[in-house]
């Protein structure tokens, strides 16, 4: 009985999801019918072009370039952000000094920095990796720092009462307490690193999806613009849905 009702809930969620997709497609189609080919292509055309474009040898190098840059940027964002965040979290005074500065950096429109990044790194992979990491590192650091600050002091006192070694304390108390919050940070960092890399490619590269996008804008290739946005949107939504599910599962335990 329980299982069947859970299945009912799941099927309803699938239904809702299908309805959402249908609504988006309908709105898209309606928009297309109002503004026409000069601004956007229809869902059918876009989907057809996407299927044609994705496996083509013209496109694949750009996809690979974007994924390489994104992977590198993500690695730097995650490693740097978690390291910085944990340090600032455990060293209270540094955290107190750094928090408003990180907050200010978080809300800077880093897009204005692209000429500087270009001056320093030149056109190419390192510029877009730097741009991606620049966007991703701060949210990861902020979430990691707050994760450490949010550890229940009673739990740490319990660890001392139980005479746990520091390794045991980290393994059994600290890690389970901070991981869910850090994963939330990684999720936010994922989205922003992707945005950073794409912006970097648009303004500071000659390869990658972002470059294709800015190129299509300059050539006014509406079909290409719509298709690229569609593909990026699909990628970002699917990955963040997965990350969100992991995030939720970790938070339920707490």
């Amino acid at each position: 009985m329980t299982q069947s009702t859970a299945a009912v809930g799941k099927s309803r969620r699938l239904q809702d999801f299908a309805l959402l997709v249908a609504c988006i497609l309908a709105a898209w189609q309606a928009l297309y019918m109002i503004v026409g080919d000069v601004a956007i292509t229809s869902p059918v055309t876009t989907l057809g072009y996407a299927i044609e474009l994705l496996p083509s040898s013209d496109f694949r190098p750009h996809l690979a370039a974007s994924l390489t840059a994104f992977g590198n940027a993500l690695l730097i964002s995650y490693a740097g952000g978690v390291l910085l965040g944990l340090t600032l979290g455990f060293h209270r005074f540094s955290g107190e000094v750094a928090e408003p500065m990180l907050g200010a950096l978080y809300s800077l429109p880093k897009i204005a920095l692209y000429p500087i990044i270009l001056q320093i790194f030149g056109l190419g992979l390192s510029a877009k990796v730097a741009f991606g990491a620049l966007h991703g590192v701060i949210p990861v650091a902020l979430f990691s720092m707050n994760a450490v600050r949010g550890i229940n002091p009673m739990h740490l006192r319990t660890a001392r009462v139980l005479r746990l070694s520091s390794i045991e304390t980290v393994r059994t108390i600290v890690a389970p307490a901070i991981i869910p919050e850090i994963v939330t940070g990684l999720r936010v960092g994922f989205s922003l690193t992707l945005l950073g890399v794409l912006i970097g490619e648009m303004f500071a590269s000659q390869h990658g999806m972002g470059f294709l996008l800015i190129n299509a804008i300059n050539l006014h290739d509406v079909k290409m613009i719509t298709t690229l946005i569609f593909v990026l949107f699909l990628f970002a939504t699917v990955t963040s849905a997965i990350l969100l599910a992991i995030d939720r599962r970790l938070h339920v335990r707490v």
Partner: protein
Amino acid sequence: MTRAGSVRILVAAGLLLSLEICCRSGIINMTTMIPPSEMLGAIADLARSGRLLKESLPTFRNVTIAFVLAVGLGVIGGTVLHSLPRVRRVLDPLLASYYAVPFFALYPLFVVIFGLNDWPLIMIGIVFAGVAVVVSTLNGIDRVPPVLLKVARIYRMSRTAKVRLVILPAIALPLFTGIKLALAYSFIGILAGEFILASAGIGHAIAFAYDAFDNRTMYGLIAFTLILVTLMNMGLQACERLLLKGRSR
């Protein structure tokens, strides 16, 4: 001032000073970056020639309009969405992934819809910034203690009275997280639009100076933008502290 505050100022000053020294001593090539003092000089020159005002006015006007509308529409949207839990659950992954996609690439679409004026840019700002406000409104309402909603019912409040008198004051602080992000995202959306296509505004001027190898102007404009955004952000933080005064638990 607190000890942390003084140390913070020292750290910031130290960073600027070392940048200055690096640039002056040639460790950082002058063609790559000009020293911070030169940036200030460039800002002063731009201000004196009147160019600063001319370039930045459209940008800040558009950002202000976009920011205000994004906050207003975001709060309304978030409140409505919170009352529709089923819709919200379906939209959740979209809200979470939203910022990964450079929607400002749809600028040409907005131009077709709104015409060749400031509105396409403002719309990009609103669309980009509004979602941050929607998300923080949702998070804020989630955390309103249920007992306060019960109190609203005991006072027999209408739905609008409940939102105005209980929910909005209760979420004011979490909402500020979204409001600060909204400022950042209105800037990102509008500067990106200006970089790509616009013929005016500070983003356009930066891109123009970059293409013309006019380093001094470019750095002046970038520094000016960053300083101004930081000041606006500090203003928002001051508002937040004012709200927090007395009611922090």
